[in-house]
Symmetry: C2
Subunit: 245 residues, 2 copies
Amino acid sequence: MPSSTNCDACPFRTNDRYHRFTEEEAEFVRKFKSGELNIQGGATLFEEDADSPHFYTVLSGWAFRYKMLADARRQILNFVMPGDLVGLQAAMFSKLDHSVEALSDLTLCVFEREHIWDLYQSHPTLAFDITWLSSREERLLDEYLLNVGQRSARERIAHLLLLLFDRAGTVGLASRNRVKLPITQNHLADALGLSLVHTNKTLRKLVKDGFVKWHTGGDLELVDAKGLARMSSYSVDHPKPRPFI
Amino acid sequence: MPSSTNCDACPFRTNDRYHRFTEEEAEFVRKFKSGELNIQGGATLFEEDADSPHFYTVLSGWAFRYKMLADARRQILNFVMPGDLVGLQAAMFSKLDHSVEALSDLTLCVFEREHIWDLYQSHPTLAFDITWLSSREERLLDEYLLNVGQRSARERIAHLLLLLFDRAGTVGLASRNRVKLPITQNHLADALGLSLVHTNKTLRKLVKDGFVKWHTGGDLELVDAKGLARMSSYSVDHPKPRPFI
DNA sequence: CGCGATTTTGAGAGCCGTCAAGATACGTGG
DNA sequence: CCACGTATCTTGACGGCTCTCAAAATCGCG
């Protein structure tokens, strides 16, 4: 039975950045979880419009949400990291209006959308946490929209790199000034509404100007984080411990 | 006492597009509501970073959420219409990271953020509705991000006009092919990440090409809605009856 | 009637997109 | 260990969509 595979050893339970479950909550989540899913990097987790009976919490690995137009233009909506909830829309509306693709091998905690109602009824604290996560996603989207709508290519890239660095740091995937982002410049371009060529040229200029180093494969080093933040008007906010599932 | 001013006559209670409260829920919301607020068109409801003890449901009038950069570049994040929840982030995080400004005179139902926990504990159905609304906002933002990130000026304007028309229709503010949008071309520009001048020129071309008519003051007439939808790859979705507070 | 907000139009510039081709990195099989 | 193919990254040239600057026309309101 996979349903209790490793809740007790769940990496989030012992991480101070997340708030703790009570024993009773943990017990509920153990039963609420219906399985574990592993998919490979590059695989598709959700296909737009397909309706899914599940939603997930990411245990490990990265992914991204995106939408496509008929002529293959692609907009990356957000990046998904460990601890994030994926596919909540499936639980609210039964179908998603975006797709999700794995950037690296992914391990997911599986939940049944039809049981979410039990959770709301019996565990208001967890229900609140879900709303919290949804609200947080909304904030990120607000930030992205400002980025794509108003900033120049140079500012956009600087801003996104800082954001990804900080988010990765929050889940313990970054060192002092370095992250291994499992993404290509193509992903950056599609997330920022820029062409691949222009993204590359602009990123190269950021390197030449001494802001960052970018080694193939998404190995990012922030050389002058302060400068990047100033130039892109980036401001961090590290809210209180975040909830998960 | 304003707290029960007109819940019984609440316009949403008799509108089929919204789902109904049970008598018990209605009773709870009556008490949950702490007052009613009226503000003038043009006034600011929320200021970014100020922390607010309240959040609201819009009873009548329009508003918009936005973020600004230091040099006055402004990104409109979304438009707010009757039935929408405003400032939920204040209830989750205590402070908002965006501002909200009234487009017309606004009547709002006032709630105390510190009581939201009562709601989650005693009324899971309403808690679920709040998450639903939050998820819906997320969908809209996804849609906007795709719009701003990938579409041309012409497509963006077409898409936004259709979206606004449909949303206004959902709350009964549009006739068959006409809406009075309380916005200026400046608002369109800031919502789409375009300059005012280019927005005007492009909109004018849409008029000349027979897609729409735009009378001063936001009086919009859709002449060829099908054509607009085709050219901007717009697709409606009218989900089931939506909840409100 | 006059003034501010909004809308329009023109001209010129520039950021960014497209097209093209080469360079580099990486996994696979010989 | 080398050959080769594919994915990714780079760079250059050129064009155009959209921006900024500027000014005029129109609308709405007191």
